[in-house]
């Protein structure tokens, strides 16, 4: 049990209902100071609602929330001074320049970082005098991050900070988060991206339908799947999943279009029997590969759905 004073965030039994819809259905969280916590889950899982309750933007239907030892009901102003955030999408004032926007946000905080430093951190120095309306999507998201950092927050919330970003902006953002962690700041981020979660987060919470499905370090979570390798194969004619599932060392089998994904314990045991199955069915192998399991496999294992499905629907 972690002593309470080391907890940046403590959440117990969090519930949020919108009419008949239960967006958050009893979530518990303990986030230590100085750690980066990732909330993972598909769209509609309740990530954003959870984060907005932590940010004080929504009120929970029930449950207990404490940030930095403070309570939103009593210490809202103090808390707002000590947290920073980015929303999934914010339309800033198009007619203002980057510098004017940062200066305005900095003026809200009693101890703000210097304007130069904030603009430099997100590499917008060249765009300082540019109007916000003329920035690219990636530049706007970096500006939003600078605004989140304006008050030199102890606790930073990032809601899908890199969704739709170009690789360069993504890297820039990852660097900023790493820098914050090195300065002992606490970061909570939501994401669809497995690589992002694995690179940035010390611990993860996987949420679906308003409930916690799994939690732990990325490595622990992958290990908890009880799977060492993933086999992906395509054969003609298509393989029968019912015949693959009982094979030795196979944990689960799924089909996505023509491709069959098998999660297995011992590759050297599973692979020969799988190949034999293909041969006995009189089929021809069109593709075969093996890899280490990722968080996405964990998610499919837990929910039967891919994490990315949500992200792709959104991008479409």
């Amino acid at each position: 049990m972690t002593p309470p004073d080391e907890l940046a965030i403590e959440v117990k039994g969090l519930v949020k209902r919108f009419g008949d819809v239960v967006a958050v259905d009893g979530i518990d969280l303990e986030i230590r100071r100085g750690e980066c916590m990732g909330l993972l889950g598909p769209n509609g899982a309740g990530k954003t609602t959870t984060v907005e309750i932590l940010e004080g933007l929504q009120e929970p239907t029930s449950g207990h929330v404490r940030l930095l030892g403070l309570d939103w009901k009593k210490d809202a102003t103090k808390l707002r001074q000590r947290i920073g955030l980015t929303l999934q999408e914010t339309r800033l004032v198009d007619q203002l320049t980057v510098e004017e926007t940062v200066r305005m946000f900095a003026s809200f905080y009693p101890r703000s970082l210097p304007i130069e430093e904030l603009i430099g951190m997100v590499q917008l120095g060249e765009k300082r005098q540019a109007r916000v309306g003329k920035l690219s999507g990636g530049q706007r998201q970096r500006l939003a991050l600078a605004l989140g950092l304006a008050g030199d927050p102890d606790l930073l919330f990032l809601d899908e900070p890199t969704t739709g970003l170009d690789p360069q902006s993504r890297r820039a953002l990852w660097d900023v988060v790493a820098e914050l962690k090195s300065r002992g700041r606490t970061v909570v981020l939501t994401t669809h991206y497995m690589d992002e979660a694995e690179v940035l987060c010390d611990r993860l919470v996987i949420i679906d339908r308003g409930r916690v499905m799994s939690r732990g370090t990325p490595q622990d979570i992958v290990a908890s799947l009880g799977v060492e390798q993933v086999i992906e194969l395509e054969a003609e004619p298509a393989l029968d999943l019912e015949r693959l599932r009982p094979l030795p060392a196979v944990v689960s089998a799924q089909r996505h279009a023509d491709r069959v994904t098998l999660r297995v314990k011992e590759l050297h045991v599973a692979l020969p029997s799988v190949l034999r199955e293909v041969e006995e069915a009189g089929g021809r192998l069109r593709h075969l590969s093996t890899r280490r399991p990722t968080l996405d496999d964990v998610f499919i294992g837990l929910t039967g759905r891919s994490l990315r499905e949500g992200a792709e629907e959104k991008a479409a």
Binding site: G56, F108, Y109, G151
Partner: protein, 342 residues
């Protein structure tokens, strides 16, 4: 600079950097005044048009009517004459008959009464007893009591009202739709400062608007100023604050610019007619007057008009200024309480 200053700068920059805002603030009122000033300019009264229905006695009647300078008479076929009366092209139709001709008038047409009096006077006159010019008439069109003089203060009031309502309600709702309000709610920004910045930035523009109105009223229309310019400016700014505060109130819930547009029209349209912009609000029935008196635009227009045209001191305008103050404070309090940030 503190957050109030930064927020005000934000508002001023947004307004300056949008040329269309400047256009609506300055060009629109001049154009309106020009059009209305032309339509209602005071010139010598046009003669009253009457028709004589065709018949044997028509030429004789026509000859007698043509002797009156205020009448313009001509002979028309009966059907055509009635048609023109119905259309308002003539104010009276004279049907020849014996012993006396018969006059047709439209009771809803104000000129009809004048026409009947002029025609009966013309017919009663005989060559040996000429028409009496009993009263000498002097036309009055001094600056200060023409229609345009009545119009200018009312238009200033209306212009302050609509620019305050639109210039605040639209951006606030757009900020809600774009989640900027939610983002700001996540900062320790003082919410009172936020609203105050909108109101104060609005008064900066309102001051320009008042100055601009005074200048073009003076130079283009020769509208006199009997009162104190500072008093006019002060009342104008209070009016702008009042409608800015009402704009906050109409934007407390709306999510789309369409829905807030409907609310702005709902607030401003009735006042545009009731509060004495184009015609005096005294034209409405007595039972409506107490209600009309407490409308903010009535209070603003009456104050502007009496400062401009009667030189009234601001000290005697306590009642209308109190109405404006109440309409400023109550919406502000309601906004602070019920404004939707997320």
């Amino acid at each position: 600079m503190g957050s109030l200053g930064q927020l005000m700068l934000m508002r001023l920059r947004v307004l300056w950097r949008q040329p269309e805002v400047l256009f609506w603030t300055f060009v629109f009122p001049v154009a309106t005044t020009l059009v209305l000033g032309l339509a209602f300019r005071n010139s010598a009264l046009e003669p009253v048009r009457v028709a004589v229905a065709d018949g044997p006695e028509a030429p004789a009647l026509l000859a007698r009517l043509q002797g009156v300078p205020e009448l313009e008479a001509r002979t028309l076929d009966v059907t055509e004459a009635r048609r023109q009366l119905a259309r308002g092209r003539v104010s009276l139709v004279l049907l020849p008959g014996s012993p006396n001709p018969e006059a047709l008038v439209d009771p809803s047409q104000p000129e009809g009464r004048t026409a009947r009096l002029l025609v009966s006077q013309a017919l009663a006159a005989t060559p040996d007893m000429p028409r009496l010019e009993a009263v000498k008439a002097t036309p009055v069109s001094e600056p200060g009591n023409r229609y345009v003089d009545f119009l200018i203060p009312g238009l200033l009031g209306m212009s302050l009202m609509s620019s305050s309502l639109w210039a605040l309600a639209l951006p606030l709702v757009a900020m809600r739709g774009g989640k900027l309000l939610k983002r700001l709610a996540g900062t320790p920004m003082s919410r009172a400062h936020f609203f105050l910045a909108f109101l104060l930035a609005r008064t900066v523009f309102a001051a320009l608007e008042v100055a601009f109105f005074c200048a073009f009223a003076r130079w283009l229309f020769d509208v006199p100023m009997f009162g104190n310019y500072l008093a006019l400016l002060g009342v104008g700014l209070l009016g702008a604050m009042c409608f800015a505060s009402l704009a906050l109130l109409v934007s407390i819930r709306a999510r789309s610019e369409e829905s807030v547009g409907g609310l702005v029209n709902l607030v401003s349209m009735p006042m545009m007619f009731l509060s004495g912009v184009f015609f005096a609000s005294e034209n409405f029935p007595g039972w409506m007057q107490p209600f009309i008196r407490v409308l903010p635009l009535t209070a603003l227009n009456d104050s502007l008009r009496s400062i401009m045209l009667e030189g009234t001191s601001v000290l005697t305008l306590g009642a209308p200024l109190a109405v404006l103050a109440v309409w400023t404070i109550l919406p502000m309090v309601a906004t602070l309480r019920w404004f939707r940030w997320v």
